[in-house]
């Protein structure tokens, strides 16, 4: 007997999720941005890294100006003559990939540690929690700053820094949820069946802890993107060869005061829309998934 | 005939939730004269507490008083302005709630909480208010009251805390005290003391008292009359003797039978079968029907109240007879 999708927990959750119009808009926006960024090389009107194609004479043109070759710069150009739209698309790609990859890694690392700590308890648990508490009592930005000073610049280094900064949030959340579930009967039953600890933790405990962790993961992606952008803006994050949205904004900063706002403004809008949309998705997920946790 | 202290007529209070209207209090009527003690008995969910809150005007949203009249000394509380109601609260109509640890503000001293109760209703100097507070504490039997004014609620034991709440209730010489399960959170021995003291205080000052409880044995020694509530309605009313010795409604009988004192040693304790119906699931039939051993065909329609004498009545199609032994 198969249960129709609408009646299964996943189906119910999805049905409730789409009840909120703002959540739908937010999700659509995120998907659009994601697809646009992924296909940047295909849909961008210009390759902003191909120095041969750039014309300095086209520098700092306002939006909707035309180039000598007849192309319209929809969002204007920066000081090197780069089309802002293309730069934003490529920048979005980097911002999103760094944000998503670092979050996935932090998710795996943090959740595993948190689950193991909750299940095993004892010294491992105490030690882990001390470390987590200590780390979380310092602002993420500062820790990332220090890490980057030590590690240097580069996509891999900033991804690593973000992972180190964010694993603690996942660990704490996973442990919290797992502690609540640990004493439930199904865990006891699994134990009685003498299943291996790894199996109990990852095949029995984890799926029940997943909903709350997924909520956190969504907001963490937003946070990772935001932190990376801030670090790049400060000049500590990604190098100029791999400009994320943060770097684009930083680049355009000095032109802001002379009224050439578009060099910073549009990358900024793109960044903010992605971050806010992700947060809204996370909020809606939390509303949908949380009541279920109170079973 | 003097105006009764309290007369409730067809009170209706409902909670308007997403799932529908919950008729917590469904056309309740009763009267209370000065110095009388009324016990409102019912399970949780019967609407007894909401009745008390309705009289005080403290029904929180999504709840609302949907109709009826509450006549306090002849004046309809529901027709008054909110300001006038506020003036009555805490002075002419006082309240004692269930768990004093929750009802006394944990971060304020007892003295502060008592003095403010006085000053909210009378223009007196702080010193005079303090004097009255000390007097009230003394009356409820709290030793060294002057020092205790500076204490915080968590520094008192449970019974003492409730005495403080009673002291606060009598501070402004109320005409009516509404006590909602005041002894439920206390030890049995303390319970007895509190019951005794409240009774004497009320007798002394002619204060009317409504004692809301789920425990019939508590009001047996205290009340003059009893209203038994079930699913938002009064299913039986009468004097305490009439209710305890000649209960007509099957639910009332069930309540009396389930009192531990009634069972002989070694006997199984009686329990009314089934559970209180969900307030959203109430239909046209008698709400007690599913649990009633005496249900008949007529019970598919909700019974109207049958009044035997003023103050004595029940809602039942198939009540027990007057002479049936309990």
């Amino acid at each position: 007997m198969s249960v129709p999708f609408r009646e299964r927990p996943l189906g119910k959750a999805l049905a409730e999720y789409v009840e909120s119009p703002s959540a739908i808009i937010a999700t659509i926006l995120v998907v659009i941005f994601f697809l646009a960024a992924a296909s940047a090389s295909i849909i961008a009107p210009q390759d902003p890294y191909d120095l041969a194609k750039l014309d300095l004479l086209d520098g700092t043109l306002p939006p909707l100006s035309k180039s000598f070759s007849g192309m319209t710069y929809i969002l204007g150009t920066d000081e090197q003559g780069r089309d802002m739209l293309s730069a934003i698309l490529y920048g979005m790609r980097i911002s999103l990939s760094v944000g998503i990859i670092s979050t996935i890694a932090a998710f795996i690392l943090g959740t595993s540690l948190g689950l193991i700590a909750a299940y095993k308890g004892g010294r491992f648990d105490t030690l882990l929690m001390r470390v987590v508490d200590l780390q979380l009592s310092f602002p993420a930005l500062l820790i990332a700053l220090v890490l980057l000073v030590v590690l240097g610049q580069g996509v891999d280094k900033i991804t690593l820094a973000l992972i180190i900064v964010h694993w603690a949030y996942f660990a704490r959340a996973a442990r919290g949820s797992a502690l609540a579930e640990r004493n439930r009967e199904y865990i006891e039953a699994a134990r009685a069946l003498r299943l291996s600890e790894a199996r109990i933790i990852f095949r029995h405990l984890m799926p029940n802890v997943m909903p709350s962790i997924i909520v956190i993961a969504t907001t963490m992606v937003a946070r990772a993107i935001s932190t990376e952008a801030t670090l790049s803006f400060l000049g500590i994050g990604l190098p100029i060869t791999e400009p994320s949205l943060g770097l684009l904004i930083s680049n355009g900063f000095r032109y802001l005061l002379s009224g050439k706002y578009w060099i910073s403004f549009y990358p900024g809008i793109a960044l903010v829309v992605v971050i806010v949309a992700l947060n809204m998705m996370g909020d809606r997920l939390r509303d949908v998934l949380n009541p279920r946790l109170k079973r | 005939m003097t105006t009764p202290t309290l007369e409730v007529r067809d009170l209706r209070t409902s909670f308007y939730t997403k799932a529908g209207e919950v008729k917590a209090v469904n056309e309740i009527s009763f009267t209370l004269a000065a110095g009388e003690v009324l016990g409102i008995v019912g399970e949780s969910g019967s609407g007894k507490s909401v009745t008390g809150f309705s009289i005080l005007g403290l029904v929180d949203s999504p709840g609302r008083i949907a109709g009826g009249q509450i006549l306090f000394k002849g004046e309809d509380i529901l027709a008054m302005s909110e300001e006038r109601r506020r003036q009555l609260r805490g002075s002419a109509i006082a309240a004692v709630f269930q768990d004093p640890l929750m009802t006394l503000n944990p971060v304020l001293r007892i003295g502060t909480q008592m003095v403010e109760a006085v000053c909210a209703h009378a223009k007196v100097a702080k010193s005079e208010a303090r004097r009255r507070a000390v007097e009230a504490l003394r009356k409820v039997g709290i030793p060294s009251p002057e020092e205790r004014l500076a204490a915080y609620p968590h520094q008192f034991s449970g019974g003492m805390r409730q005495r403080v709440c009673i002291a606060i209730a009598i501070l402004n010489q109320p005409a009516l005290i509404i006590a909602d399960e005041p002894t439920t959170a206390l030890d049995v021995t303390i319970q007895a003391q509190i019951l005794y003291e409240m009774r004497s205080l009320c007798a002394e000052s002619g204060t009317a008292l409504i004692w809301i409880t789920h425990d019939l044995s508590v009001v047996a020694g205290l009340a003059d009359k009893i209203c038994v509530m079930y699913a938002g309605r009064i299913v039986e009313r009468g004097s305490v003797d009439q209710i305890l010795d000649h209960p007509r409604h099957p639910y009332t009988r069930g309540l009396i039978r389930s009192l531990p004192a009634r069972s002989a040693r070694g006997d199984e304790l009686y329990q009314i079968p089934g559970m209180t119906p969900s307030p959203l699931a109430l239909g046209e039939d008698c709400a007690f029907r599913a649990r009633c051993p005496r249900a008949i065909a007529a019970c598919s329609k909700e019974p109207a109240e049958i009044e035997l004498n003023p103050g004595r009545g029940y809602r039942c199609h198939h009540p027990h007879s007057e002479e049936e032994p309990v």
């Binding site: 009592s137 310092f138 602002p139 930005l141 500062l142 700053l145 220090v146 000073v149 030590v150 937003a222 935001s226 952008a229 801030t230 803006f233 400060l234 000049g235 500590i236 904004i249 900063f253 802001l256 005061l257 009224g259 706002y261 910073s264 403004f265 900024g268 960044l271 903010v272 971050i275 806010v276 947060n279 909020d283 | 005080l56 403290l58 929180d60 506020r86 003036q87 009555l88 609260r89 805490g90 002075s91 006082a94 309240a95 709630f97 768990d99 929750m102 009802t103 006394l104 503000n105 944990p106 971060v107 304020l108 403010e116 109760a117 909210a120 209703h121 915080y152 968590h154 520094q155 606060i168």
Partner: protein, 324 residues
Amino acid sequence: MIIFIVRRFFQSIVLILAMSLLVFLGVYAIGNPADVLISPEASEAERADIIRHFGLDKPLYAQYGLFLANAAKGDLGRSFKYNEPALGLIIERMPATLEIAFTALFLTILIGIPLGLLCGLKPDATWSKMIMGFSAFGFSVPSFWLGLMMVMVFSVFLGWLPASGRGQTMNLFGIPFSFLTFDGLKHMLLPAINLACFKLSLVIRLTRAGAQEVVRSDYIKYAKAKGLRPARVIFVHMLKNILLPIVTVLGLEFGRTIAFATVTETVFAWPGMGKLLIDSIGVLDRPVIVAYLMMIVVMFIVINLIVDLVYTALDPRVRLEERQ
């Protein structure tokens, strides 16, 4: 109570020592201390000097001892760029940072708590939902972007306020303050507001949640049953209970605010500790970076201690439990 203070004080000292060990290890054991402490342009003589001063040729534990001894004297190396003691530079810039941090705190309390209270008491009003929407915005948006927008709107388009710099200052007890001059105030306003944004959103949400929870509590119902005036119910009974957790959060957030000032100071070119840090990172002026870190760690621990003490003083339940 005294025992409590003393105990917490010693805990803090232990924590500072532990953090100093971490910083020390990070710099001396993992990193190459020679790179950190000796400027690449130093002469041989200067090199030898520094090696001797910091004991870089001695075993690790001796180095740590020297590190602590030097740190206690306030010697955390010399800045490569300015050729001045690193710690001195930090302390010189501290008033500027603290000024906007305190102003941000002040603004947060002044605006955030009343707004949060109002939203909590009337959650269904349209304006209430709008305020919550804005606070969600201020919470998730990166603060540097908000700063940029503020510059764009208020400096470039409207021309009301200056976009950067500190403006005029006036000395009070020998420390320059901006708020004492009108020009200084104009310069201080945007950075302080920018710094306050995140905290403001947080405080509004917390106050609202607290108000909603407290308003349904039994003791509020009881206070109303006593017939107290609504104003008294809100300001005497509710407020204290709502504010307790908020005080803790504000205190802990203050430390984070000082750290986040790095971003605000960069956007507004405000000459505080944060800007110094970013500039130093840019030119690899490592002694300054180390000095900044130590300073921040100490500040954090001190702030935590103060917050603990304040909370204990305010909540009678905690205070009296200690005594018993």
